[in-house]
Symmetry: C2
Subunit: 687 residues, 2 copies
């Protein structure tokens, strides 16, 4: 919002005819800053200068070949500043695009890996068209270069004789692990941001998201998240429409139930498959589907005895896997179990409260089954309290899980993420849904299930919106007030600051976007509420749609105005979340089958007195297994990529094979001529 | 056996001091023949000569650059012969090895794609070491060259003005589709075959198979089949040992049942995962794991209107996919359903027979439950008849399924195979197991289940061994007798024939090995008998082990002596069969859970009067789902490749990335020097 205000101020200033300097150009700098490196205040100046020279050095001398300069604080005294501005020449960016493996559309319509030498064959390229690479891509290239700034030989870091650098060790990773680096972040592009927000959330259309513009500004990973959010919301609409009459007219017949559950099953499967196809299309057009993956380096936090990596042959920390396994199985697993037990205890308290409220109502109103509106509301109080407690526990557990996974000391970021996601998913799933499972299958109280489900879903959605946008907005506002107060006291020359310096000061203090994890997790739990017990509460889909329409806006606002700009990340799919959603879909089949099986109508359908017979059991179980098999087959039969993408991929494959063959034929030809002039064995031996 | 006899004769001749000429060298030929092309007897001689020249021509002239010669029949009159012998120079073979993408171990221990120019860096290579490529590999290279002999421009085939060849059309595929080609087959290597059979099946050790020698002689696909067969047999031993006491002491307690079913579940999962890892190891060592796949051409039988392939841009037949889908869904699916219905009718007849036999025994022996040994045997008669009928139906259906899949007109061999395998698997599974499912879950007659299972398993195993080895052996013997008679009549100069001509005459008339399909199918059905109802008949594993020990021998005998040598096929895994076996493992979990749930003991365990309660149902279903989930997790958690293979693969990946990076740095360096001398943009534009 702060940024928005600033934008509005600038717009007003422009309208008023005032000359506003270009926000990202500073006359003294000589280059466009893309990324800000904030070093520790206590960093030795000699280290800063060494770093600056490493950043500026040509690659031949082991440098990053970037443009870098300390930020001048106040009146030009830059000698003390620990904040570095980094940019790059156009040529450096193009070479970086090649190194990063960007895939772009060529003028002949095919997708190819960008190379500097063939740059003129790419669509939209000309030597003076800086828009060929978006600012997000330029920042990604700079970040890539910073990560790959490595020590050439074994030295101590200048100024710190105890910090050793081994050949191939990333300099910034070492700075980060020694806490000499505060943060590295990309700068916002105020012009682009203005356009983006105008398109995205400053208008009333609830349907449309400018995905291409989002991708250009925030990169593929975030664009895929918003694509998924939008896709999922649209997909929920038909389920909401179907569910509405069930809720309004309180349809509870057996056949209508079965129809609803069947629709739900087909819906979940088809939607997830369609998304896979859609995201493959997006990723193909964006070039990320064909992008070659980088070799994964050890994560910065990874520590251990110095050894030799068997793959790269480099010296790097090694940590025996049996010790990691010991930590995982002897500490983490029991810890997760303990947390699950705690969650169970809390659930117990909730059921005790529930019973207490029921008893209170009965005692207060005598034998009247329906009390006043207060009494009906009171029924919801335990559920709401429980929902709040669940949210608090989820967030606390998330924090602990991160600490614990960090302590497990995984070598790669990907395994670290997988262990973290697994921990969080297992706990959040149990924490959110255990009480519902208990109510549905042990207590078999459909009325309580509906009431509890509604309370949990609505409360968690309201809480999430609060925590995600209102709270950060309020925090930012308070901090800005404090800062405004302190800066006006300490730096009265503030108003003379260039827009760039202002921007850096503001953005540097914004919170960091922690990735799409929490956003996906929220959607995942929502999907659970909607699909697991959809038979019992068909209105859930409607609530989810309403929530998601505001969610798009609040997430967009968060990214554009509240948080620091995140580095863009090329992504070809939503990764492990596809699997998570598919597993949830599978569970939904089981729970809905069980719900239908337990309903009175079904039981009387099979046997007049409603008792359970073996015949009935076999039919239900067989039906459930058939549905599961059908789901697997659907997943298997529907191709993961649309026909045209598969054809394009086959074409690329074919072309590279043909190129290889041509090359071979060249060799063949040269050898044939060799053969015709002399003895083959001799020439081969003489080679 | 015929071949074996010949080998023995030769050995005896050698021992007797007679000089036996080298079997594969013929003084008049000038090269070692590898592959025999048998053309139609009615082929025009001008076409044969055109083909010969295309085979011999250098690649620059669009030829295959092979050595080829017609086989001289009788006293040297080769001008009429329609049988061509094909070989290749050592250099041609090495270039072919590069084209085929063979991956070999280098002297530094790493695995790399073989290239002619870097040939001296490979382990075991020297210019005079012909054993660097096995004969099977040489034959594969020749076959690859034959398949890739393509028309260069649009011509009519000489001698046949109505047979058009379009640019890029494979000559041999066209010959094949016009029925001018009888067969192409590789020659046996009598020396090697002698060594192989001595190692493989002419000794009493039941355990050991010389997998590496098999691979060198028959190629990776067949070696993997025998590897899997051996692995699977070994894996069955523990289950057999565990099952034996259950059978001997007739243990039928609930807890022992549960233990057995649990063991079975873990066993099936772990064995399949271990095989995946083991086959990855094998394929890595053999180089097939890293082998680049060839671009898949349309299969020879594919026909349709001439169009342009969107991927290759070549002119080739096209067939609209909606017409294929129509054929699949409107004809094939109903046909399969009709076959399934027929199978159901046969099952009905079987149950009618079963009831009739029971009634007969009761009427004959009065009220005595156990009659004489004849009566007990008579109990098995319907099952045995049914088993024979099942086998006959399976084989007839297999034939029809092939015709039908051919008629569906799939473009690629792989989709053709998939449709065929799916058809055959669905029918064979239903045909073999429907009666068992019916007995187990509808009739709930455990005694009949055991009896029927035993009869089906034993009968099918005996029948298979008969059809696979005894019958072909007998057929071959009869044919040889007939041939011996006719040849002695027609060609009295037969005894003066060179060994090569003898060999070609013998091998040319041997039956063709139709691939590993039937062998895997047999194993798959065996796996079903062993695992689906393992609770009811624990002896099945023991019977399977005994069968497989003889199966190895009979399959080996079949390949070495009864059938034509098959072309070797590089394979990295057992393909779709891994999935088929895993699905069968999943089904086994379900059926065994259901068997346990239905047992009297379990029912009384939950409720004293043995009736079905909701509680009981929930527990059983939950347990089954938990087991299934566990199975999925096990499959997911166990890595598909052993650690050392993953590390080697990562190393290869890393090295290729490093090589790419080095290349980029070269560009970077050259550009940097450019930069230092002049303006970047100008130089870039001037390029």
């Amino acid at each position: 919002m702060r940024r928005l205000d600033r934008l509005v101020e600038e717009e007003e200033a422009e309208e008023a005819g005032a000359v506003v300097p270009a926000p990202l150009e500073e006359e003294h700098l000589g280059f466009q800053p893309l990324v800000v490196i904030e070093l520790s205040r206590h960093l030795q100046l000699v280290t800063r200068d060494w770093l600056l020279s490493r950043l500026r050095d040509n690659d031949l001398d082991g440098g990053a070949y970037l443009e870098a300069q300390p930020l001048r604080v106040g009146g030009g005294a830059d000698s003390e500043s620990r904040t570095l501005l980094v940019g790059a020449t156009w040529k450096r960016l193009l070479i970086g695009a090649e190194e990063a493996g960007f895939v772009r559309r060529c003028q002949d319509g095919s997708m190819r890996a960008f190379t500097y030498l063939s740059r003129h064959t790419f669509e939209g390229y000309s030597d003076d068209n800086v828009a060929f690479l978006t600012m997000a891509e330029q920042q990604y290239i700079v970040k890539h270069a910073l990560n790959n700034l490595r020590a050439k030989e074994e030295i101590s870091m200048p100024g710190y004789s105890d910090i050793k650098l081994y050949p191939g060790k990333s300099v910034f990773r070492r700075l980060q692990s020694k806490r000499l680096l505060v943060q590295i972040y990309p700068l916002h592009d105020t012009e682009e941001l203005k356009k983006l927000s105008a398109l995205w959330y400053q208008q009333a259309r609830p349907s449309y998201q400018p995905l291409e513009v989002i991708r250009r500004y925030f990169g593929e990973e975030i664009a895929l998240y918003f694509g998924f959010l939008g896709f999922f919301t649209w997909a929920l609409v038909p389920m909401g429409l179907v569910g509405l009459p069930y809720y309004l007219f309180a349809w509870e017949d057996f056949d209508k139930y079965v129809v609803f559950a069947g629709l739900n099953l087909a819906w979940a499967t088809v939607v997830l498959e369609m998304w896979k196809r859609h995201s493959a299309e997006l990723a193909f057009c964006w070039g990320t589907l064909l992008m070659r993956h980088d070799f994964e380096e050890p994560r910065p936090g990874f520590h251990g005895e110095l050894g030799t990596n068997p793959v790269t042959g480099r010296r790097e920390p090694t940590y025996p896997s049996w010790r990691r396994s010991l930590r995982v199985y002897a500490v983490s697993v029991p810890f997760v179990c303990a947390c699950l037990y705690l969650s169970y205890l809390v659930m117990d308290v909730y059921f005790w409260m529930e019973a207490w409220v029921l008893a209170w109502r009965h005692s207060g109103d005598g034998d009247a089954d329906e009390g006043g509106p207060l009494a009906v509301l009171a029924l919801y109080v335990p559920s709401v309290i429980y929902a709040v407690v669940i949210e608090v526990m989820n967030r606390a557990y998330r924090y602990l899980a991160e600490l614990l996974t960090e302590w497990e000391n995984h070598r790669l970021e990907s395994t670290h993420q997988n262990h973290l996601i697994l921990k969080v998913l297992v706990f959040n799933f149990t924490n959110c849904f255990a009480s519902l499972f208990y109510i549905a299958f042990y207590m078999q109280d459909m009325k309580l299930l509906r009431q509890s489900l509604a309370a949990l879903l609505i409360t968690s959605q309201i809480l999430n919106q609060l925590v995600e946008s209102i709270l950060p907005y309020w925090l930012r506002k308070r901090r800005n007030q404090q800062m405004g107060w302190s800066s006006s006291e300490k730096a009265p020359s503030d108003h003379k600051d260039s827009p760039l310096r202002q921007q850096i000061r503001i953005e540097g203090e914004m919170d960091t976007y922690l990735g799409t994890f929490d956003d996906y997790l929220e959607l995942f739990l929502q999907f659970g509420y909607v699909s697991l017990f959809s038979c019992a509460y068909p209105l859930a889909a409607v609530l989810a749609v309403l929530n998601n329409i505001t969610e798009v806006r609040s997430d967009a606002l968060k990214l554009c105005c509240v948080l620091k700009r995140p580095f863009s990340l090329p992504a070809a799919n939503i990764g492990v979340w596809q699997l998570a959603f598919e597993v949830m879909g599978l569970m939904a089949v089981m729970t809905n089958c069980a719900l239908i099986a337990m309903s009175e109508q079904v039981r009387t359908f099979f046997d007049q007195d409603g008792s359970v017979t073996l015949n009935y059991v076999l039919v239900i179980v067989a039906a459930e297994h058939a549905l599961l098999a059908l789901k697997f087959m659907l997943t298997f039969v529907i191709p993961d990529k649309p026909r045209w993408v598969r054809q394009k991929l086959a074409r690329i494959d074919y072309e590279s094979l043909q190129a290889l063959k041509k090359q071979k034929i060249q060799v063949f030809k040269s050898l044939s001529s060799e053969q015709s002039t002399g003895d083959f064995l001799n020439s081969a031996l003489g080679e």
